[in-house]
Subunit: 512 residues, 2 copies
């Protein structure tokens, strides 16, 4: 029968069934078949868009220590006054029109290449924590060994489609040389698409140069192989590190996530509509910048907004206001016609306890229903991002596995309607043994691998383990089972030589 | 300014602000201002509706040990064959047309009276567990003392708008007399609207008679003061206990939740569309029955669907398929024009750990976005409903507190747009001290009371407590602080005398 409903078909369910049948471990990315959840109508979204234009026109954006950017903006028609750039209404939006609605980020293993943009969803691990936590060590500073561990775990997690970027900060390495080992680890220990350095334009260029060794110079010139996270300094300012990195990537046709990172109440007004207008203004300026540098350069509109405790001023997560920002920003990105990044499994909890899980899910569900295209922080995030948790990583990734079935929506095929069993199985009869159940049972229901749904008695006999204990066993087992994906020996050697040469060319420094 | 968006205005945010300002602890119920999340279009929903009609017409509903119901259905035009009732297409839907789209359930304290139906949301605690669990005792059978404790905790929980029903099974009391003490406890220890007995028509009548003592016979004749849960015996059968109770309540103009309780794969096909069609068929038959008994009797269409572990056959919760059923059934109830009940904080976990919280939130978010009007199992549910957890109750209720702010949606008032602070606070400046922030700070962000968002150092100094420990302290403190709401002494005496008389009129029995 033909597909009768309004749901968009992207082949998600069928593709996943095919993959399962073929015994392949990972689908490269998800396809959303359910519509996005729209909480505001056109009129409300237009108000926020107009407010963003007013902000860009009247207040403008401060450019910190990056005179080049002032000239670039001015060349495109912006008014520059000192380090302040003001934009005629509609200028940034017009410039954003050249940004692609969707782009391909190539992985070194072509089977892992991802599509970023509607109707697709790419899940990536958490990013940027200086600390790690696990049941063995408690909480401590992260090292390059931890980074490698999370690169391996991400590679092995079939729910994660992307290697991510700064999985944790390898604080045992000099600040100015960490990026070499982080980018190398993504290539060495994984074959998924990865993120590059944004802490300076020079390190962004190092990332591109490393990518050229892996993918070949010609390939990189014509394709996107790196996606990197450039955060605005909210409110309303962009600095050289981030915008300079964005410039390097755009010049090289590489992708950037341009993300205002906002603690509402401190870096933006305390309201949802105010935070959304500011986020849009900041992101628009960043997107416009990349499109002036290179029209058509792939960009993603990012939004990260947290709420704040009224008592302590600490950031809070999993609260309703950021969920409202998320749904609103996703709609605004759709109207702008660019891919959208937000959400994840965010929490302020210190350990992977009930608070951590409630808060994480309270961000992740809005993430899935909003229609986010690239989800950073899908797995591992604790303590407002200060800590990458080993057990939290396992639990988050496992729960994120439900995204595929959720985004598939309702199957209204003949098999999905199930009228044959409904009309032939009598009242009071069980469906367990019906032909339809047997034919569908294996793929009918998603199930978390770390959850225990057994009887109390069985659970007790199994040692009365809580989720964190099961997750602990799992990551240790995974690291013990890890096998590296094949990497051409010559390429590996070339990478190591090039990195060593670069490292030797300037002294170590812990000044960022 | 006028309200420019498509969101429905129910005064939720303003009402809550007024309540907060007045120092009142509880809002009687929530008002949803965001639109419901629709995952299927008209065409898809029509298919499921037509399939339900086909089931009712061709297979029909089995009526177990309740000949009266056969006559009642036949009198309205159904075809009865033995104990099987088949319905001409559209008959049940036509009958359901007399059911109100929304009704008032009065509480003995008028300030707690609730509205059940769009655009309102009423949150009630979990229902029906034979066991309880807490950090002091672990897991054990529930007693009437536990029931009273949960009645008190529910009364004190401002996030819960309804007293609920079988908070836990008081297994220390004889099966055939438990209902007296349960209903009495709701009246004695709380002043919120409550649920009645459904284990036999006689006990339903006892509930109505008790309500008459509390509210007055004339008041009960003209108003709804009891809401009770009648579950179908899926697949496709209704029995005397449930349908007989529904008959008593309908005759007395009291409300029923007519809920197919379905473990998909066992009691229905393994597919979402199949489970939805069956749920609709079963509920339609039940709703039609109440409307034949008394046109206009208040009813709620209920849906409870769980998925199943492929390995063990155990029910699983917080999975994507039940979420899809929930969103679908909510849309079908809206099209039918009756209030909808589903969802809650459901989990198969044994303790309130990360699994419990992830799974609970993965049901509660679909619940909120679907537009559910009455939410049973909002707080306390563990082990697939076998256990009522003290700490789980506290955590669930606390997290449910976010519902108000979420359902309010985006405030697009002048204050909500926040353009004044956006245009006057410069780039790089903080918003903490702005007039707008100070004016809004106290009500700007919802915050869970049991969550710890402090720094790691502060959290450590506070004893490194996890969520379950904080919840444990909280329920003990609440029970220690509990003060009963006023209850007229004469009414109380009359209740006790009437109950004693009824108890003495037949022997104790543990045969249900």
């Amino acid at each position: 029968m033909t597909e009768p409903t309004g749901r968009r078909r992207g082949g998600g369910r069928e593709a996943r069934r095919a993959v399962r049948a073929a015994g392949v471990a990972t689908l490269p990315y998800l396809t959303r078949s359910i519509p996005p959840y729209e909480i505001l109508g056109d009129e409300g979204l237009t108000i926020i868009e107009q407010n963003a234009e007013t902000i860009l026109e009247e207040v403008g954006i401060e450019i910190v220590e990056f005179p080049d950017a002032l000239g670039i903006f001015e060349s495109a028609g912006a008014r520059v006054d000192g380090t302040r750039v003001r934009f005629p209404r509609g200028m940034c939006r017009d410039l954003a029109a050249t940004a692609p609605a969707r782009f391909t980020q190539h992985a070194r293993n072509p089977a892992r290449t991802v599509e970023i943009g509607d109707p697709h969803v790419v899940l990536a691990p958490a990013y940027g924590s200086p600390f790690v936590r696990n049941l063995d060590d408690g909480r401590r500073y992260a090292t390059i060994e931890d980074f490698r561990n999370f690169a391996k775990l991400t590679y092995m997690s079939r729910q994660l489609h992307h290697a991510g970027g700064t999985l944790c900060e390898p604080v045992d390495l000099p600040v100015n040389k960490r990026h070499f080992e982080m980018v190398y680890s993504h290539i060495k220990y994984s074959d998924k698409a990865f993120m590059g350095s944004v802490t300076s334009p020079e390190r962004a260029q190092d990332t591109v140069d490393i990518a050229k060794i892996v993918f070949g110079e010609d390939f990189v010139a014509e394709n996107t192989v790196v996606l990197s996270l450039c955060n605005a300094n909210s409110p309303l300012s962009w600095d050289r590190a981030m915008l300079g990195s964005a410039k390097v990537y755009a010049e090289n046709n590489q992708a950037t996530l341009l993300t205002p990172f906002i603690l509402a109440g401190a870096m933006a007004p305390v309201t949802v509509a105010g935070t959304a207008a500011q986020t849009l203004a900041e992101a628009l300026a960043g997107i416009a910048f990349t499109q002036i540098v290179r029209p058509g350069a792939p960009v993603v509109l990012g939004s990260f907004a947290s709420s704040m405790s009224m008592q302590s001023g600490a950031p809070t997560f999993g609260t309703p206001e950021p969920a409202l920002v998320l749904w609103t920003m996703a709609a605004l990105a759709r109207r702008l016609g660019v891919p959208f990044r937000s959400g994840g499994n965010l929490t302020a909890a210190k350990t992977p306890d009930a608070q951590a899980a409630y808060e994480s899910a309270a961000t992740f569900f809005p993430t899935l229903t909003a229609g986010v295209n690239f989800v950073l922080h899908t797995a591992g995030w604790l303590e407002g991002g200060l800590v990458m948790g080993y057990e939290k990583f396992i639990l988050d990734a496992d729960m994120a596995g439900m995204a595929g079935a959720l985004l598939d929506g309702v199957d209204l095929s003949e098999n999905g309607q199930a009228m044959e069993p409904l009309l032939t199985t009598g009242p009071g009869q069980h469906y367990l043994g019906t032909e339809h159940t047997l034919a569908n049972f294996e793929t009918a229901f998603w199930r978390a691998e770390t959850s225990d749904s057994n009887s109390f008695e069985q659970w007790e006999a199994d040692g009365s383990k809580e989720a964190v204990n099961r997750a602990h066993e799992r990551w240790r087992q995974m690291l013990s089972d890890y096998e590296a994906p094949p990497l051409d020996e010559r390429t590996d050697h070339e990478l190591r030589s090039w990195i060593q040469q670069r490292k030797d060319s300037f002294p170590d420094s812990d000044v960022s």
